[in-house]
Amino acid sequence: MAGLSLNNNGELNPPLWLLAELTYSCPLQCPYCSNPMEIANYKDELSTEDWLRVLHDARKMGSTQLGFSGGEPLVRKDLEILIKEARKLGYYSNLITSGVGMDGERIAGFKEAGLDHIQVSFQASDEELNNFIAGTDSFKHKLEMAREVKKQGYPMVLCFVLHRHNTDKVKDIIELAIALEADYLELATTQYYGWANHNKEQLLPTRKQIEAAEKVAHQYQEKMKDKMRIFYVVPDYFEDRPKPCMNGWGNVFLTITPDGTALPCHSARLIPGLELPNVKDHSIDWIWKDSPDFNKFRGYDWMKEPCRSCDEKEKDFGGCRCQALMQTGDAANTDPVCSKSPHHSELLEEVRRIEGLAGQTIEEHPLVFRNMRVSKKIITSSTGS
């Protein structure tokens, strides 16, 4: 195994980031959700004991940052127990939530249990659009929760996932974050997996939108320096080099899905040929160090040309495996975002085609909201039963 993933002593890096997807249940229905469309198939959730063991074993290997996410992690009744254990083990724990299912009392309870940080996600900066995208009347409650999080002394990240319907509102979004006294603002790009991929034609912003938003974000980054950190990343399909996806496969991130499947990235389930080890059958130690999945794209030896002989591979690790798979049919190919990829022009073509659809109502493909009912329908129609 080459260079990457090995520290100075020649040992494998630990899974510094543990993402605990506690449940796929969620009261919201965001069409940009990157959860799999087959969520209705994953009814079997790990028990409290399973999660406690996962937390313990990963911490022993050196996991430090712990994210409780989902779905909506607040749905899990044992969240307080898990937070308490996380604190005891020395994790820095992050609750990644829509705010729906929380109240002042529960926020105080989390604090007492030892939670370090709460990230609240919003769908938009105004009530109408927020509630439309979320598929739920949640805006007012989110505002209230954000204020409560700050009042109770937590550091707060506000997260807005950007797409065609809210990218033009970046200024209002930033102003809202300032008014709510966020410490960090994450203007995230939609990850086009799962539901988001299904809704791609309706969600992909245009290049013009992105360029305008980028300008505004940079102005505020300068203006808010020292007060609020603003993270804004240009979607990579408008660039000619990919992002260093997950900071390298099996290098930093370990995701555990609600049913206990361990993934090197949260959409890895797409990739054919993976064995999808489960924490119910294997130790975290084996999964991270020895499982075929976590070694599959680790380091550089798996790479094909043009990545293999490229002098930039240590910067971007060849980009995203899932993107490579979805656009080129082979997860081991160069991410087509890269201008050196022979598939790059196809990607540009696709983006241009979708850009052309912006502003039209697309009758054949209406926006599909993420919920169990739709999921079941999709499962039945794809299995043909």
Binding site: P14, L16, K60, M61, G62, T64, Q65, G67, G90, Y92, N94, D116, H117, Q119, G153, P155, M156, V157, D183, Y184, D226
Partner: protein, 88 residues
């Protein structure tokens, strides 16, 4: 901050020893900074009670009378800029 200031850890950050990494780290939402050994030693003295002068004296005593003054001031300045510590 000046030499009489009493630095204290900001409530938005956590500081701890990481056994697996064998170093001190500063933790914040979704991120972590590993500290060098000397930075870790200085951070350990930031307790909301000692002034910068006292921290310098304590560390100097700990390291056989070494002159640590410049290092401490440089680190305290940097750490304050990063928001990790603030004057009490």
């Amino acid at each position: 901050m000046n030499k009489e200031s009493i630095p204290t850890l900001s409530p938005l950050f956590r500081f701890q020893w990481e056994e697996a990494q064998q170093c001190h780290v500063v933790l914040y939402p979704e991120g972590m900074v590993k500290l060098s050994q000397s930075a870790g030693e200085i951070m350990k003295q930031v307790d909301g009670e000692k002034s910068v002068t006292t921290i310098i004296q304590t560390l100097s005593d700990l390291f056989d009378g070494a002159d640590v003054s410049d290092d401490v001031i440089a680190f305290i300045t940097e750490a304050e800029k990063n928001g990790w510590i603030e004057p009490k």
